[in-house]
Structure formats: structure tokens, C-alpha cells
Symmetry: none
Subunit: 214 residues, 4 copies
Amino acid sequence: MQPGPPKFQRRKEDRPGEIALAALAVFSEKGFAAAKLDEIARRAGVSKGALYLYYETKEDIFHAVVKTAVAPDVAVLRARLEGFPGSFEELLAIFLPALAGILSVSPVAGIGKMVISEGRNFPELARYWHDELVAPMIGLVSGLIARAQERGEVRLGDPRLFAVQLVSPFLMALLWRETFVPVGAEPLGLSTLAAQHLAVMKGGLLTPANGSGS
Amino acid sequence: MQPGPPKFQRRKEDRPGEIALAALAVFSEKGFAAAKLDEIARRAGVSKGALYLYYETKEDIFHAVVKTAVAPDVAVLRARLEGFPGSFEELLAIFLPALAGILSVSPVAGIGKMVISEGRNFPELARYWHDELVAPMIGLVSGLIARAQERGEVRLGDPRLFAVQLVSPFLMALLWRETFVPVGAEPLGLSTLAAQHLAVMKGGLLTPANGSGS
Amino acid sequence: MQPGPPKFQRRKEDRPGEIALAALAVFSEKGFAAAKLDEIARRAGVSKGALYLYYETKEDIFHAVVKTAVAPDVAVLRARLEGFPGSFEELLAIFLPALAGILSVSPVAGIGKMVISEGRNFPELARYWHDELVAPMIGLVSGLIARAQERGEVRLGDPRLFAVQLVSPFLMALLWRETFVPVGAEPLGLSTLAAQHLAVMKGGLLTPANGSGS
Amino acid sequence: MQPGPPKFQRRKEDRPGEIALAALAVFSEKGFAAAKLDEIARRAGVSKGALYLYYETKEDIFHAVVKTAVAPDVAVLRARLEGFPGSFEELLAIFLPALAGILSVSPVAGIGKMVISEGRNFPELARYWHDELVAPMIGLVSGLIARAQERGEVRLGDPRLFAVQLVSPFLMALLWRETFVPVGAEPLGLSTLAAQHLAVMKGGLLTPANGSGS
DNA sequence: CATGAATGAGAGTTCATTCAT
DNA sequence: TATGAATGAACTCTCATTCAT
């Protein structure tokens, strides 16, 4: 049986991704409970019934959305940081702007907000995010800091808390953007923040021989 | 027949506060949409109908909860900071532990999570929080920094971003506590964080003559 | 124990009547189901709980209202009509304006609307009204007509339907006043209607010898 | 396993009409407030949720019901009456039985009762009925009477009140049927009433040359 | 595969009724 | 008696999920 003339049609294999993308937007804007499947379907360009061809339940879609797009970012950063040849100061100078860059384009802000919001309702997702994204990231940075401490580059102190100090301004900037900018607040420039944070961290984190001379 | 416990009590004075307290817990755990009035009523020890004796709608209860307990904290901090006689370094040494102390006992974490979660659904509340709590706080700290810069105590840079750097680790610690600790993550000790953050900020924020000698 | 100075206070024995009066207004405006006991209590100047000191249920109040103020009107008309000495033509000339006069000041319109509206929900009340007010009235008028027919004053025909023809314009005028005048319709003047209706009925109801000569 | 009757049918076309029909019955029996959507849905043979596929709110269903089936009756009568070639006496002889016939089969009685009952609660509907049905009908009949007066066929007097006299017995008959017949009252035969009313009106409404000779 | 009309459990809200005061 | 805070059943309306087409 020869194939008829190939009619244009969307590739079926993309449907789950298209749905997840639409769902990310809706969940991120409304939260889990207030998000309507009707709206997700409409934004995905499919019928409401079609959602159930690819996902079992609304919760299932939510899980898919949260778990999607997590791995790539971690992998990218891990690749850049692990085995970085230079000093910790040089590492910081690379890492902080890179983090700012990634965060400003990644959907991680929206998903992060969802995890914060719905963590109590979906502990499995909170655990997943902690185990897959947050803990590895913190662990990675902590490890780099610990090694830098061993080399005498970084002052004494809890590496995990140092890691928190390093990344928290960016977290705050993301939440600021999602929460207060829509109601009229002045945005926090991510790149300026990265530069200024780098300067302060170099001054405060590094030992005198390594940082204060810059 | 001996009288059992009375079927209900008349305590008009106390009810609104009790309801708001119960609602804070439920909203904070579940988010606005997933919170059931049934549960709020049960935790407040009243019937569902009684809620409507004191509040018009579910949204009204939510508003009451979000607007509650905002002013006190701001006022306390403003009183401590404004007109502080010492140097900025001394100010930091007071301010960071104080902030950590306040945050660890205030319901601000739960409410803040709600504002982050539901900001899009209730922009009025996001605006209220920004205008009443967040912007004043940031403005207060920024002002202190700017004056310290004029005195040559603090390095050059955007005071608003310095303020973000100062407070963001505590924001992150709160969200960490609310989101990841319940699923098994190691807590971030607020007081240890405050001490370490103070050390780093003194090293990185202050000018050499003022900070690096400590 | 000497009595203290006599404080002014409302006479308790009027309470049920005051409540029924307020209830008449509210039921008449809103219908049974949409009438709120809160509003009845407020208009009666008592608390909601006080209603239950005098009536068992909302339905009980409704019954009281419907059954109240029915008997007087019937009695007045019956007294005027029964044993009227003159001709039927003279009777009509008395009866129609009198009916118009009574209806324009009596609460019968409001109650009648309630009976029409709620007859299906409260058949007992429909039956009560029919038996106590409507059927006696129709019977009374029918009887007068029948006797006038026997005297050759009124044309042949079903006396009951003649009675309907006699009273129906006033019914319509009442319903018009209650229903359409509030939304801007021109009122139907009851006294003008009575005069014109009298003229037509004299021409159409009476036999030539009795009516057409007027 | 043989297939039982399908759990539900898709009949998008027919549903609104079926729902409105069921709603007419329920509203007419119970009044607006006492009518339960559950019962409307059950009588329409659909689920409660299905009502909301076709109507926005309960009030919306009520509006649809009240506005339904109004225009047709008016149009039919207007067509019959306007431009009627014969004398007013002949017109009456056609009009009154026709009115009786239409009213005895039309749902206008039930809807009219609803308008009377709920006019205060839904003034928009009272206005709609007045403007679309009642005022045009009264105006139509008044106009015919006025022209007949100009031709000397009808006695002097307010044409609008004459119109009321003409139609009110039928209104009363309808309300009688809806209100008192269900509790045991003798029905008022509409066709007999029409014939007798015709006779009386010919005698009382027409001028001697036109009416009294019949 | 795909649709969307239809379902039905469950939510927020109202209000007649009760009862501690 | 009188109050009105408190109750809880019942209502309207929503929306995740199903299924005839």
C-alpha cells in the first residue's frame, strides 16, 4: 500500500513536550490547584481529552513539568565547574556570571516557585528537587569551596553556608522578578548583581593573600 | 442528666484572631486554592458557617492573614536601625543576628511563601507586601548603606543590591526550612549563618580601613 | 419591694402582630423562599431569636401572615352586600367602587400575590384562601347575580362566570400595580376603572329593561 | 457482556431546549428561589453539571425560560388582529375565543405566574415582559378600540381600561387554574367564559346601534 | 488518535434554627 | 423574655475525569 500524499501534520511525538511546556506556564502563573486543565489544553493547542492520552492525571502532568528541564542545567554547570583548572578566585569570576546567565533564561524560576509553593502538597516533588537539583548543586559548590579552603584560598567556615551565601542573591532576584516586578517593583539587574556580588565575595570569602589585593 | 460540655461558646472577641491563626497555618501549608474552609474552621475550633460571621469570603480571610503581623516586624527593625549611633560595622554586627532572630520566630516565612505562591493570583497582596514590608526594609537598609558609603565605610556600588546581598541568605534559609527540611534536608542554622555572613560581609562590603583589619 | 420608676417599654402583647406585619412586607416583596428571617426581624425591630418565641418556623410565620387580614375584608363586603335592599343595578353602583376602594388600601394585593406564587409549595394556604376568601366572595356575588336573574334583572348565563367578569379587572389592576408599575408602567387608576367597568357591566350584564336605559 | 444503555448521549443541539422546558416546569411550580437545579437537571435528563454547559447561572436559565415563547404568541395575535377587515363586533367575536384558545395551550400561564411572583426580585424580567408582551398586547387592543370609537362602534371611555376589561377574565381564569384548581376548586371553563364574556362585552362595550341589537 | 459533551464529587456560601448568655 | 453568636444542612457552581463519537 503506497502512502498517500504526505499531508502536513504535527509530529505526534512532540505532544507530551508541548503539553508540558504549556503546563509549565500555567502552573507557574496560577499554582497547581488554580491551574485549569482547560487552559493547559488550550495553550498546548489540543483538546482537554488529549491530555489524558499522554498523562494519567493532573498531578502526573505537574510531576512531569517539575522534573523536566532540571537535569540539563545541573549537567551544564557541573561540567563547567568540576575540574576547573584555575584558582577559586578565577572560578568565582566564571561561575557567578554564568549562574546569572543561566537563571535569567531558564524556566527554573517558575518551577522553583512551584516547588516552594506546592512542596507541602507534593513532598515527593520537593524531595525530587532537593535530591536531583538543589543538593547536588550545593554539594558541588561546597566541595569546590572545601577544596579551596584546603588550598588556603578561602577563609575558614562552613562550606555549605558559604555556598548559600554565594547563590542566595540570585534566588532572591528570581523570586523578586516573579513576585514583585509584575506589580511595579524595580527589577534587580541580574548581571549587575553578579558583578557586584563577585566583588563582595572576593573581598569577604577569600583569604587576604588571594582576594583583598584585587 | 448532667450537662456535657456546652455545644458552643460565645467568644466574639477572640474568634477573628483564632480563625486568622488557623488560616495562616492552612494557607501556608496548602496554598490558597488547596486550602479548605472546612479545615480552617476545624483547626480554629468553630463551624464552617462561623467563618462568615467574621469574614466575607475565603479571599477575605486570606487577605487578613497576609496583612497580619507585617507591621510589627518592620517597626521593630526600623527602631533598632534608624539613628544607630555606631559605625556601619557595628551596625552589621547588630543587624544580622537580629534579623536572624526575628525571622526564626516570626510567621513571616509562611506568609512570605504565600505571597510568592499566590502573587500572580492576588496581585493586590503582592503589591501590599512590597509596599508595606519589602520595599521599606530594602529602602531602610539601602539608606544606611548609602550613608556609610558617604562616610567612606562601605565600598562603592549599588546600595540596593548590597541590601539584597545582606538579606538574601536569610530568605533562602527560610524557604529552605519550609520546603526542603520537611522532606529530610539538613536545616540551615540561622544563627550560624548570621555569624558567618557577618564575617564575609565585613570582609567584602567594608573598605579596607574599616573591615579587613577585624 | 417598691417598683422602680416605670420605664418606657413596648407592650409585649403586640409583638406577634408587629412581626406578622413586617413579614407581610418582606414576603410580599421577595416571595417566601427569598425572604430572610434576618430582614423580617430587623423590620419588626426585634432580634432574630425573638421570632422563635412567637412562631415555630418560617413557614409558621408565613401561614400567620396569609391567614391574617383576610377575614376583616370579607366580613365588611359581605355585610354591605347581603340583604342589600335595592335593585341589582343599584347594587353594582355601590359594589364596584367599594371593591375598588377596599382593594386599594388593603394588603390583599400583596398577600394575593403570595398565594399565587406559593400556592404549589403551600397547598394548604391555597386551599385556605380559596375556602375562606375567594370561594365565599365568588359565591356571594354569584348568589346575588342568580337572584337578580330570577328577578329578570340580569341576562341569562353562568352566575359564577359573571362574577369573574365583575371582579377580574380589579385583580388585574392589583397585579399590574405590584408587578409592572415598579418597572415604569403607567398605573391603572382603580377608581376610573371602577366607573368605566360599572358602565360596561350595566350595559352588558343587565337586561335591556334594566340596564340599557341608563 | 452486552452493552447496557450508554452512560450518556451527546446531543448538543437539543439540550438547551430540553433544559429550558424542564426549568419552566420547575420554576413555575416552585418559584425561582425554591427551584433546585438538581430537580431541573433530573427532569431534563441530564447531570447538574451539564446545565452549566448551556447556561451561565441559575438566573440565566430563569431569564431564558421567561423570555422563551413570548414572541410567538404576540406575533400570532397581532397578525390576526391588525388589519382585520370587519366591524369591531366581528373582531371581538374572533378575538376573544382565539385568546382563550391560545392561553389554554400556551405556557404563558406558568411564565406569567413567575413574572408576577419574581418581578420584584428580577425587575429586568418584569420590564422585559411588560415591554415585549404585555404593553404591546394592551397597546394593540387599545388601538383597535380607539379606532372603533372613531368609527362610532364603541362607547366613549379610556381604551386602555377597555382593553383591561376585555382580557382580565382570562388572566383570572389562568391564575385560577394554576392556583385553586390544584386544591380542589371548580375550573373556570375558558371557552364558556369566552362566549359569555363576548356577549357581555358586546352589550356593554358597543354603542346601541352596533351591539345591543344582536 | 482525538474530540469535547457529559459527568459527579466536592468546594464556597447562605440561612433557618438553636442555645449559652 | 430577649439576644445574636454559633451551627450545619443544603444550595449553587466548578472542574478533573470519562467516554460516545
